[in-house]
């Protein structure tokens, strides 16, 4: 239970990585990984919401009656998601038009509920905040890796800028910007990371 901040970060980013270890919260975010810019905004949103909702749930953990804790947690999460939604709309309305519904769907992102339930309801606010942040970072890293492959292959751009000399060597893989590409990429990322983890465990013995 008494994890140090360092252990929490290792867990969030690799050992308990929300995407490829726990397979949570991929719903709302595969859709935004065909452009790196959208992905960065989404990653920011998720990180912000996990960290602060964990913090708040942990602060209130002794005051929430057990029977209605789910709905209280959902309400806490929804309030932070609303803040993120309004922030993104203010900073960049164009991106908001595209990822708007998916930002709203951060509410039902299972990582956030999962961490609130599994970690924040038993730990102190500060540790919960770190845990939320670490989980958010672990999640964002996976999304960014996927986006780094999908955007260049599908559009021939990175962060909206064309790749150098793409007329000569680049050929468009339309499938990468469509839904199947996202599923295949995530499958590959999951596979590789599990394989590495298995090898690490074998090496440790």
């Amino acid at each position: 239970m008494a994890d140090t901040p360092k252990q929490i970060f290792i867990k969030g980013i690799w050992k308990d990585n929300p995407v490829f270890r726990q397979v949570l919260g991929i719903c709302s975010s595969l859709a935004v990984t065909n452009l790196l810019t959208n992905t960065l905004f989404m990653a920011f949103g998720v990180m912000f919401v996990t960290a602060f909702s964990n913090f708040t749930v942990s602060l209130l953990r002794d005051h929430i009656p057990a029977r209605i804790r789910m709905i209280v947690q959902v309400l806490i999460i929804a309030s932070y998601v609303m803040i993120v939604d309004i922030l993104i709309k203010a900073v960049n309305p164009d991106i908001h038009r595209f990822i708007g519904p998916y930002v709203g769907l951060i509410i039902t992102n299972c990582i956030i509920m999962g961490r609130a339930e599994a970690f924040a309801s038993q730990n102190t606010p500060w540790l919960s905040f770190l845990d939320g942040l670490a989980m958010g970072i672990g999640y964002s890293l996976v999304l960014i890796v996927i986006a780094l492959v999908r955007e260049p292959m599908g559009f021939g751009t990175l962060l909206g800028f064309p790749l150098p000399g793409r007329e000569i060597w680049w050929h468009q893989w339309t499938i990468m910007v469509m839904a199947p590409g996202a599923f295949f990429m995530l499958a590959i990322v999951t596979w590789i990371s599990r394989k590495i983890q298995l090898n690490l465990e074998k090496g440790g013995k």
Binding site: V81, M82, A179, P180, A187, T190, L198
Partner: protein, 202 residues
Amino acid sequence: MEAYQETNFFATLFIIFISAGLTNNILLARFLGMCSCLGVSKKVDTSVGLGAAVTFVTATTAALNYLVYYYILVPLGLEFLKLITFIVVIAAFTQFIEMVIERYSIKLYNSLGIFLPLITVNCAILGISLFMLNKPYGFWESFAYGLGGGFGWFLAIALIGGIREKINEKFLPEGLAGPGITLIIIGIMSLAFVGFSGMIKI
């Protein structure tokens, strides 16, 4: 003349239903409801059970959220509260359904009961309600959209459950078993569903 308009109306509803279910399949084209799908789709019967429950809740909450949004939030100028309102409607409705089923049909409760908490956090349901607002739909159109979306999810999860039952995970490369292979299956199915796109324009 009136009869003609009526068939036209139902035809529109049917087209919305088909397009929400097949061409814009909520799971395979919009990625929503993945978490519960990966967790639950190991067997056909559980997939069908959850799929049916989700279809019912999606259709009803789409209609409910439509009413709440256009008759309560818009007149009061509170559109920015839509996220929190929708999730409360969905959570309250699921809770209500759970109590009703528990009271009147223990058998149904036992077979469906474990899925009900999963429904609140199923993004497909909130997703349908949010996407619905981007379209110029009336009440019945929204209902058809919710029904179609739920049906599409049901179809996808039942098919995935069927395929997963047949897979022998012993023959897979190390590390691919479980979520990895399921994602690849979903990817291939999603390729097949891409074939539907362009069939109907809404």
